[in-house]
């Protein structure tokens, strides 16, 4: 198990969702193949992973209320940096006014990039290398829209301010676990927009990585499936989370608050971490949260959080507000947005 030398806490969290949504049934490839009421977010013509990350980080810092002093690192998990040769982290450091002696880096290319950023930030704070660290994740739809695997691909950003666990933190990190396994489950070659998938083997890799990671965490913490009030499992498609829950012994009611796929789609690098934001928006003191993420060809991270009394003092509900603040586009509008073109008709 990965556990820092000093206790780590979340001091603030935030998310950003673009306002445009499309119902999956309006995507030509999706008709009949997906649940009819699912929808996902799509960026406006002037948004990308950088602008969304900035908004999420600002919201997390506002909730933390700790100012910018002491921030030693800002790490961003993404699969869709608009630059192929320049990190998001440095743009964020300038946008936030924290340029200088800060470790800024991007964690790239997988469905668990944001949880990797989160655990690395915990390590930096836990080792004393930083008093505070920001773990962000941000993704716009990274794959070709007509690629079957991208039906659920969505847009959004999340951010967490991590610091030493104390009076101001809203949740304590109890411990974490990770499982890596080289798998050619889903992958893409550099320079190619085509995503390759090995079919049934892909599902087997996910099940093996996630169960290995979660079971090790529970064992090390001496906890069982029933000890968690909220559980967030990988939700890249409608079947994966429920299948994993059944296998690991979690009940549907434990999964409810953190299941964002139906309303938001799969925001690749941070889908599970957006589930965590949704849970933290409603969690009560003393509740325990399990998060497990998965990245194709990257493995699985899991960690356990214990919610603290201070969460009641924070203004919450921003994520749920953003989920309901939306405007629908049709397939023509969606295609225009993917090309970075306005959908307004004024």
């Amino acid at each position: 198990m990965l556990r820092a030398n000093v206790p780590i806490g979340i001091e603030g969290f935030g998310a950003y969702l673009p306002k445009h949504r499309i119902r999956l049934r309006d995507l030509p490839l999706a008709q009949g193949a997906v649940p009819q009421d699912f929808e996902k977010a799509i960026c406006g013509p002037d948004e990308d992973a950088i602008t969304m990350a900035k908004e999420a980080v600002e919201r997390a810092l506002r909730m933390a209320g700790v100012g910018k002093a002491g921030i030693g690192a800002i790490l961003c998990g993404t699969t869709s940096n608009p630059y192929s040769g320049k990190p998001i982290g440095s743009v964020l450091s300038k946008a936030l006014g924290i340029e200088g002696p800060i470790l800024a880096a991007d964690i790239n290319f997988s469905g668990k990039s944001c949880s990797e950023a989160f655990l690395l930030c915990a390590g930096l704070v836990g080792s004393g290398m930083a008093s505070r660290a920001i773990a962000a994740g941000s993704d716009s739809i990274p794959w070709g829209p007509w690629n079957e695997g991208a039906i659920y691909s969505s847009c959004g950003a999340a951010a967490f301010v991590l610091g030493r666990d104390g009076g101001s933190s809203i949740a304590s990190l109890e411990g974490s676990s990770t499982w890596v396994m080289d798998a050619l489950d889903t992958w893409a070659l550099r320079g190619s927009a085509q995503r390759r998938n090995s079919g049934r083997f892909a599902e087997r890799a996910m099940v093996q990585c996630v169960t290995s990671s979660v079971e090790a965490l529970l064992r090390e913490l001496g906890l069982g499936p029933g000890d968690f009030d909220h559980v967030i499992l990988p939700q890249s498609d409608p079947r994966s989370a429920s299948g994993l829950a059944k296998r690991l012994g979690f009940k549907p009611e434990q999964m409810e608050a953190g299941l964002v796929l139906p309303k938001l789609g799969n925001v690749e690098a941070l889908s599970g971490m957006l589930g965590l934001v949704a849970v933290l928006d409603v969690a009560k003191p003393s509740e325990r949260i399990l998060v497990a993420t998965f990245g194709n060809g990257a493995g699985s991270d899991s960690f356990s959080l214990l919610v603290k009394d201070a969460i009641e003092e924070r203004e919450r509900g921003d994520f749920l507000n953003q989920l309901s603040r939306k405007g629908y586009v049709d397939y023509a509008g969606y295609s225009r947005l993917l090309l970075g073109v306005s959908v307004s008709r004024a």
């Binding site: 406006g44 990308d48 970075g340 306005s342 307004s344 008709r345 004024a346």
Partner: protein
């Protein structure tokens, strides 16, 4: 615009950093060398709230180079809470539904891609 000129202006473009006059407290955006109220030359950086009201706007249907994909879009004059007036693009809205007096808030968005890099800057969206 050159990359170095762009980055020099980044604090105000990315997060509305203005200048507060140490002599009289007047807030200037964009920052300036001499205070037009007291003549002072001593300033400190001040990040503006980004909260404001749309005073007037116009809809651009025939955009200049670099903005083609965004048209039609609105450009408006926003009166910020701090008293400063800013001219900027209004985003996340149907321009036909805008009205004067609407509450707006600043966001950092892509402005355009020019000179081989992405220009980010402030716009306003309905609050």
């Amino acid at each position: 615009m050159s990359a170095s000129g762009y980055l020099r202006e980044a604090p105000r473009r990315y997060r509305l950093e203005g200048a507060a006059c140490k002599g009289c407290g007047a807030i200037h955006f964009p920052p300036r060398a001499v205070c037009d109220r007291c003549g002072g030359r001593d300033f400190e950086a001040r990040e503006l709230s980004g909260e404001g009201e749309l005073l007037a706007y116009t809809i651009i249907r025939h955009p200049p180079k670099g903005f083609e994909g965004q048209a039609p879009y609105a450009i408006g004059i926003v009166q910020l809470k701090e008293g400063v007036r800013v001219l900027a693009q209004i985003t996340d809205c149907d321009p036909a539904e805008l009205r004067e007096g609407a509450k707006v808030e600043a966001v950092m968005r892509r402005i355009r891609e020019d000179g081989g890099f992405i220009e980010y800057g402030y716009k306003f969206r309905p609050a």
